[in-house]
Subunit: 337 residues, 2 copies
DNA sequence: ATGAAAGCGCTAACAT
DNA sequence: ATGTTAGCGCTTTCAT
């Protein structure tokens, strides 16, 4: 067993409350005994037991984070932002990966409650808040635009606008039949981007047919299959808007294999601007999200909520997307990279 | 405050030990009261407090995992394997990201000890075991070939062989001056791959010059800069072995920008076989590691150690690498993909 | 400055 | 079957 404060106290022949005081830098211990205690703690390799500490303090100094997919560089960048910010405030992060599975997400919420985290940051796998969030009596930051949940702060991207500028770029570049590779139907972000897609098409007087929307998983494989399906259903397609870059990468793979020229025959635009999208061999036109910042902002927001208590008003922060034109669409590049 | 078993007991007018028994499915409660208790627990939205539970049980049912970089798909795939395996055994995972920083790694070890995890799986950022691992009285699985640490199990790849087959492939394909883009000098895996590089060169009677080795960070940017440096130091270079695929991607970016033909002018091989390396636009020749399996094996190994107790012998499992020939080196592809 | 004691939420041994 | 009690490691109040 690991040594406890009792072991230190016994070794030194003093009471263990003094040890607790000394180790927590509280007043009420002479400089001399404090030094003795610290030395002994080091000698014994003492580490405080956070379970016991959390039990009495009622705070665990840890934040739970739930993301849908760890292999998507978009989310891992975001987590990086969260972690860096947490270091500064001396918090630990308990990271959970839902795999875009709402049931698993719910189960993680329970896990985090059991672990007594001080707050939760979640990128939901589903399109709207269920009961589990409504009466979660815990500071909550949702990485989604959830107006329905009033007990949570929300950090989101203007996805509708993102979809709109993406598709408008496609239209301006001369593409006529533009399909949308949606992610999972339950994903709110994806549906918001679809809304932007529709808006841009309507504005241009182009029909927005439901058959031009393919739902798939947020994976390279999903994008590959969805592209095949889209082109089979509608061979007229000459423009593709993918709900995220990973899906776009799958589309690129399919188009490459079928020797379909990009951007000449078909134009392709993604979403997220993940690091791989700017490789010279890829040069994917896409929509940027300030992802690292979203992570740090999410963390700062949750800490703010924890410190201010449950009465403080919830914030809703909406960040703006940015069009990144590379070489999978016609028209000149807007970045020097 | 969240409800406790005492609240349930009070509500029902019974003792809280009965509640504990019922909720843990232990015998000693009538079917009737058990049902009452379960109903009340649901009504109150009761969630057990894992801190209190862990405090008395002395097990937390959680495993700490430390990886160097979450944005590298290699590690995120590995974590995925660990998580999936942990679900089956009903363990939670506490994930930490060291950022290839040994000091941060040490600090996470302490954090995990404080959190009372039942075991630790670590991919170390440094090349050998320091004291912190030697007297960690906790089941430990190291994702590295650490023969020096006898109190840990090790899951590793035969990196020397991996480096050897990579460079031999380069040599067989006719490249004459082969450089190595190493990762951080403290990374054991990277150094083992370097050893393989040297072996292959020696065998072929080629000089293995230290000036052909560039140390860098395991990132696209690192690979980009290192390639520039390598070609500046030695313009003769016509073959590049990168310590991992992410570095190779950076190399590819540099070579692309400089209009250096791959694989004609320079041949490039990576290591890891991350998902992005097989995109048709990339088609990176590389060395495969069975990464998902490494994750699941690591988890199974740690659970095994936890169950068998400290006296059980430690395992050392070495997996074999596999050459994946794509189009960044001359010679025909060996995969149908 | 130091010690004794209560209590955080829970499990388990021991009564009844 | 049910209740009582001690104790896990710690912080904190209250005495001294």
């Amino acid at each position: 067993m690991s040594p406890t404060i009792k072991d230190i106290a016994k070794e030194l022949g003093i009471s263990y409350s003094s040890v607790s005081r000394a180790l927590n830098g509280k007043k009420g211990v002479s400089e001399e005994t404090r030094l003795d205690i610290e030395k002994m703690a080091r000698r014994l390799g003492y580490q405080p037991n956070d379970l016991a500490r959390g039990l009495v303090n009622k705070i665990s100094k840890t934040i739970g984070v739930i993301i849908p997919d760890i292999t998507n560089p978009f989310f891992s960048e975001m987590v990086k932002g969260i972690i860096e910010a947490s270091k500064k405030e001396n918090y630990d992060i308990f990271l959970c990966v839902s795999n875009w599975d709402a049931a698993r997400e719910d189960s993680y919420i329970k896990t985090l409650r059991k672990k007594q985290v001080d707050g939760i940051i979640v990128k939901p796998a589903r399109d709207e808040s269920t009961g589990i969030y409504k009466d979660l009596h815990l500071p909550l930051v949702v990485l989604e635009s959830w107006p329905k949940v009033e007990n949570a702060s929300a950090i989101s991207l203007n996805n509708v606008r993102g979809g709109y500028i993406a598709v408008r770029h496609l239209i301006n570049s001369g593409y006529k039949n533009i399909g949308f590779l949606a992610g999972k139907e339950e994903s709110l972000s994806s549906m918001e981007r679809k809304q932007g897609w529709r808006m841009a098409l309507e504005e241009a007087g182009m029909p927005e047919l439901e058959k031009n929307v393919i739902y798939t998983t947020f994976s390279i494989e999903g994008g590959y299959e969805a592209t095949r399906e889209l082109l089979e259903k509608n061979p007229e397609i000459d423009g593709i808007f993918a709900a995220n870059d990973v899906i776009a990468l799958g589309a690129l793979q399919y188009l490459g294999e079928k020797n379909i020229k990009v951007p000449d025959t078909i134009g392709l635009i993604g979403f997220d601007n993940i690091s791989y999208s700017r490789l010279p061999q890829i040069m994917l036109t896409t929509v940027n999200q300030p992802v690292y910042e979203m992570g740090t902002i999410a963390f700062e927001t949750i800490v703010d909520r924890i410190q201010k208590g449950p009465d403080a008003p919830n914030k809703s922060i909406v960040l703006e997307p940015e069009l990144i034109i590379r070489t999978t669409t016609r028209g000149e590049t807007n970045e020097k990279n």
